[in-house]
């Protein structure tokens, strides 16, 4: 029977199927971090349970780490306590931890692939909704809650109901200046912030094949913003070449054997999806969100919508509330919206190629007066490499702050937050109320759009700029 990519991996990991309901699925990789794991370890301890497979569990600190110098102690006492708890838990249960002092520390969804821990054909879970990122390698990867973290620690399995399957088929070339972020935001706009709920999304089509691994990660990362817990892309030679030689990836002949298997991981001709969405990439413009869900987004050439344009009364009210929160008037051209802050980073857009692209826009230019702009690399490895390649210098010379890695202003758990009313062009993934700080106003954009906004002091259509 013809199978989808998702079904091939799924079937391979089912341990036990209840008559009606969920399956017990084996977990190949369990990533943990300081914020959603402490209560899970506490639960284990109370029940006197062990960690079943510490060798398949990897930990990092990312959510509340400061992005200022690592040589000074963490000033936030509660954050420090959480990090200390992770350190203690990992030591006690024999789990590899990439702590603040590790050269491999970084955002969990950046370091997993970087270290070759994320591989095609695996099941991967983490107590973080953006775990969908790892699906870019052709794995089933999804976010879980803390009770599930505890369950996976204790059993290396998870009870999960098989989701429905949606294919998003993208054809056509992305224009110069239009990125995977813009593609993802247009998909979210099309299917809605809850349109993917209950589904796993496989991204397919020539455009998706043409994306780099970093771009595929951006696309899969944002699946959850459409409600889909999991997004994935069939592995190909790009995937295999990306992984070859990575720290924890299989070595030599083991790698080649694995690669042979990975090449078989694709949806068969005639396999059936529950839903199909087709996207033409060629007309997509750079996207800018104007509201408080990622689906409230429009072209940079567009204007802030009027609530009256929305027929559904609940939606209309939501738009009214969003515009009030965002301090925006209907009809305002997007390019007239001024920004106070710019954030380049996060598990969505904090990889080396994101910083490279942004640096090209920034090179030889200056951050606009009154704008505070910040680059937070996705990992310490990204940071080092960006420094070696001269990107850090370009950003600093233009007036950007150059920070240590972490989730930082994407969710504002550390000191990197917006003041009430401040408006930010951000390469992160959520523009929810207060996400980047109470009262803060977030506009989601691509790294090159954020870079251009930093220089111009307002949103601009980056397609009109020269950068190479």
């Amino acid at each position: 029977m013809a199978k989808t990519l998702f079904e091939k991996i799924w079937d391979d990991h089912v341990i036990y199927q209840e008559e009606e309901g969920p399956v017990l699925l084996y977990v190949d990789r369990h990533y943990i971090h300081e914020v959603t794991s402490p209560q899970a370890f506490e639960g284990l301890r109370l029940a006197k349970r062990r960690v079943r497979r510490p060798d398949l569990t990897f930990a990092t600190m990312d959510h509340n780490v400061p992005t200022t110098s690592r040589l000074i102690p963490v000033s936030d006492q509660l954050a420090a306590l959480q990090m200390a708890a992770l350190e203690k838990n990992c030591a006690e249960y024999g789990i590899t931890l990439f702590s603040l002092s590790s050269p491999y520390n970084g955002i969990v969804h950046v370091i997993g692939p970087e270290l070759g821990l994320t591989l095609p054909g695996l099941t991967i879970v983490c107590g973080d909704s953006h775990t969908s990122t790892h699906g870019a390698f052709g794995s089933i990867a999804f976010g879980i809650g803390t009770s599930e973290v505890e369950h996976v620690l204790a059993t290396q399995c998870i009870w999960v109901e098989k989701p429905k399957l949606m294919e998003v088929v993208v054809e056509g070339s992305l224009q110069r200046g239009v990125t995977a972020k813009d593609l993802a935001l247009s998909i979210i706009k099309k299917i809605g912030a809850g349109g993917g709920t209950g589904y796993a999304i496989e991204y397919r089509g020539e455009t998706v094949k043409g994306l780099t691994m970093d771009e595929r990660m951006t696309l899969c990362n944002l699946s959850i913003e459409a409600g889909a817990r999991c997004g994935l892309i069939a592995p190909d030679e790009k995937t295999i070449n990306y992984l070859r030689g990575r720290k924890y990836a299989p070595k030599d002949s083991a790698f080649e054997e694995a690669a042979e298997y990975w090449r078989t991981l694709k949806t068969d001709q005639g396999a059936v999806f529950d839903k199909t969405v087709k996207i033409d990439a060629s007309p997509i413009a750079p996207q800018v969100t104007w509201g408080t869900t990622p689906a409230m987004v429009t072209d940079v050439t567009g204007v802030v919508p009027h609530p009256d344009e929305f027929e559904d009364p609940v939606e209309r009210k939501a738009v009214e509330r969003a515009l009030q929160y965002m301090g925006l008037k209907p009809g305002t051209p997007i390019t007239e919206i001024k920004v106070d802050r710019v954030f380049i980073g996060s598990c969505t857009n904090g990889r080396l190629s994101d910083l490279e692209a942004a640096a090209k826009v920034v090179k030889g230019r200056k951050v606009a007066p009154g704008v505070r702009a910040m680059v937070v690399p996705g990992s310490q490895m990204v940071k080092r490499e960006a420094e070696e390649r001269g990107l850090a210098k370009i950003f600093k010379e233009a007036g950007f702050e150059w920070r240590e890695s972490g989730c930082s202003m994407c969710l504002g758990m550390n000191q990197d937050i917006l003041a009430p009313g401040e408006r930010c062009a951000s390469t992160s993934n959520r523009n929810f109320e207060g996400r980047q700080g109470p009262g803060g106003r977030t506009h989601l954009v691509s790294p090159i759009m954020a870079a251009a906004a930093a220089i111009a002091g307002r949103f601009v259509d980056v397609r009109e700029w020269s950068f190479e």
């Binding site: 209560q39 079943r52 059993t155 709920t197 030689g245 609940v314 009210k317 109320e433 996400r435 109470p438």
Partner: protein
């Protein structure tokens, strides 16, 4: 270990919005606690309290009428966004035992039942009706999970669907890990099969070579 879910009658508070995300249910500044309790004080913090920490009179749970609510009714995609289970802990700790909505986000849905919070999905027109009644009057509903019914005192009745396994687990209040460990031999079998079939899936011994990021 969760407590078995029992039939109860509770006051309904309407939260008339789509896409209530977990960042609103429990803002990030409260995720630094390392225990499961005490989150109720911070439920909907930025909606409940202003910059000075004073209650915002326009927020539903601050209105005298709804102070004792134990049932929340909202619209589509409730609980979207971050996977933080703290959102469920905050609702329960505050005293919310059931959330009724048109739809729920996937991760939130799982987090909820694992802690004994019952989520009830009703049709948009039923949600409309409940929101209207709870807004215009004081509405009490009886939630009966066994019979999959929500009942109004005057007789109005809403039937709901719920996956059988979730219903069973909520009613029994099972220890899920304990339950899974009953399948221990199957897990071990799978692991030895996996070691043979997919040896590469076990992380390799790390190489010492210089780190790379791209």
């Amino acid at each position: 270990m969760i407590h078995p879910f029992k039939t109860f009658t509770g006051l309904v508070a309407p939260l008339d919005k789509d896409n209530v995300d977990t960042d609103q249910i429990i803002p990030k500044q409260f995720l630094k606690l390392i225990e499961r309790k005490g989150f109720g004080n911070y439920l909907f913090f930025n909606w409940r309290f202003d910059e000075r920490g004073e209650p915002r009179s326009d927020f539903i749970l601050n209105q005298q009428k709804y102070k004792k609510a134990s049932i929340l009714v909202s619209r589509a995609n409730f609980g979207c966004g971050s996977s933080r289970e703290h959102a469920v802990w905050a609702l329960l700790d505050y005293g919310i035992k059931t959330v009724i909505a048109e739809s729920f986000a996937d991760i939130f849905y799982n987090n909820a039942y694992k802690n004994g919070l019952l989520l009830i999905t009703l049709k948009p027109e039923e949600v409309d009706e409940i929101i209207r009644k709870a807004t215009e009057n004081t509405l009490y509903l009886t939630v009966n999970l066994e019979e999959q019914k929500v009942l109004e005192q005057n007789g109005a009745e809403y039937r709901f669907e719920i996956p059988k396994f979730i219903k069973e687990r909520l009613l029994a209040g099972l220890d899920e890990i304990g339950n899974t460990l009953k399948h221990e031999s199957k897990i071990s079998e799978y692991e030895s099969r996996m070691k043979r079939m997919r040896p590469w899936a076990i992380p390799a011994k790390p190489t010492k070579k210089a780190p790379q990021s791209s």
